[in-house]
Symmetry: C2
Amino acid sequence: MGEFDLIARFFDRGPARVAELGIGDDCALLGSIAAGARLAVTSDMLVGGRHFLLDTDPVGIGHKTLAVNLSDLAAMGAKPVGFTLALALPEANEAWLQGFSRGLFELADRFGCELLGGDTTRGPLNLCVTAFGEVPAQAALRRDRAQPGDDLWVSGELGGAAYALGELLAGAGQTLAQSARERLERPEPRVGLGMALRHLARAAIDLSDGLVQDLGHLCDRSRVGALIDWPSIPLDPALSLLDPVRQQSLSLSGGDDYELLFTAARDNRQAIAALSGRYGPALTRIGRIEAGEGVRILDARGAPVTLPLGGFDHFA
Amino acid sequence: MGEFDLIARFFDRGPARVAELGIGDDCALLGSIAAGARLAVTSDMLVGGRHFLLDTDPVGIGHKTLAVNLSDLAAMGAKPVGFTLALALPEANEAWLQGFSRGLFELADRFGCELLGGDTTRGPLNLCVTAFGEVPAQAALRRDRAQPGDDLWVSGELGGAAYALGELLAGAGQTLAQSARERLERPEPRVGLGMALRHLARAAIDLSDGLVQDLGHLCDRSRVGALIDWPSIPLDPALSLLDPVRQQSLSLSGGDDYELLFTAARDNRQAIAALSGRYGPALTRIGRIEAGEGVRILDARGAPVTLPLGGFDHFA
């Protein structure tokens, strides 16, 4: 199977629908964006053996390769439009490609997000998606808009993906519950929620490197600080029997949650609570934005929580 | 040096100029595209040790990583706007990053093409750029518009990059002329030429996998055949002393030329000849489009030329 057969068999799905011109030319052509709208662009690279274990079900890898990008679009309040895929493969393994493309397109089709083009080459397994979405100009959920006094909200439950990764790395994959494994391998991008928050949230970020680290990015960009109320953090059920230190480590510093963290004016508290569960998971108020800088965490007694681990850094 | 320091030191150049929002958020935001314009999107992945030798000057690697994408925009007649960069690095080598980012931004700045965002991770060396350009809706130079009777044109001289790669792989780098090495390591994307051809050319493609293979793609998409007149092929000066079989192999099947191959109505012959040398290299008429299918090559006596090698295929 050559490079062009591979593209034709697994990735070319006929004439473009969203795009004016799709796979098969030097470039894809995207039609005009609606007046007043902006194109949101994000790019994520997944390295085999680093962002996922090499024996992961390829359907899950296909899903996650796109999901982490759609999660970035969601954190911007953008509606997915299309994506490019560049992949380096050690070999043209048909079973793997079949699974990978199935997982990829199942997710893409659910959000009407079209594969526009890309590149296929040989090399150590590497998957790079660049995704595009549309968002009204003034409605984009930027990181730099948080204000002191804002409520701090998070979607879903935290720590499940980091827990599952730890179990897999410890060789405990056989006893890992399917639901825990799916938290790691099939993150659900909160696209509908992000769009619903367009005129309710002030600032937003998606959780990929761990709550405290990602909240730190949002605070840095907004030049504010934040206070997290530890008892209010929604923990993944898989963490329920763990000791408090591990619960804190996994939910505050664990990566790969792909939930939305956002700030909103107190006036919007009821409107946001009314969205809880309507676009997937429940929404939980976990703290507030403060003047100053840095992220503080307080326990049930009001004492500061100290984290044993920082967030994830690929070069630390 | 952590991941975020690395981005700040080598890739973040302050507030966005072209984009409404650049590096540092979940997504970049591109402003509205002009009414009637289309966004051209292309993505190329370069694998260390495969698309370039690992000991290549990092300035050249930075240049080429972007250049191959700008070449795709040029082949569409699009004006570069911006790009994302995702890179996997085996280590955070400062000298390498310094050189790489210098080569990247020198080229980007020449075309006013802004880095919008991306991703940095650890892994086997892999560089993935997705580039964006703007082109008026009806002016895009697609592959599927060639018509029987069209002239077939090429920019510049062919075979130099493949020659240089062969010499480097044979360990003859010490004696390789600088001009030959630059054909391989510093391809110049024909952006100005592509834009000038918007209303003169009918179909276009950039040469990355070799003339015959890339012309074959253009013919397949346009459902036509093509005839190449071998004596008219402009050979890179580095090929002048080689035997004819090697000249044919390098210029017809050698990759990495990054010149533009395009078709145009005979009526535009003089207008195109007048562009020759105005946007970089000379333009040469090398054959014509025919009804039917496939690519034929005729020598000075009108006898068919048979190629010893096919074009490049990553999985063949």
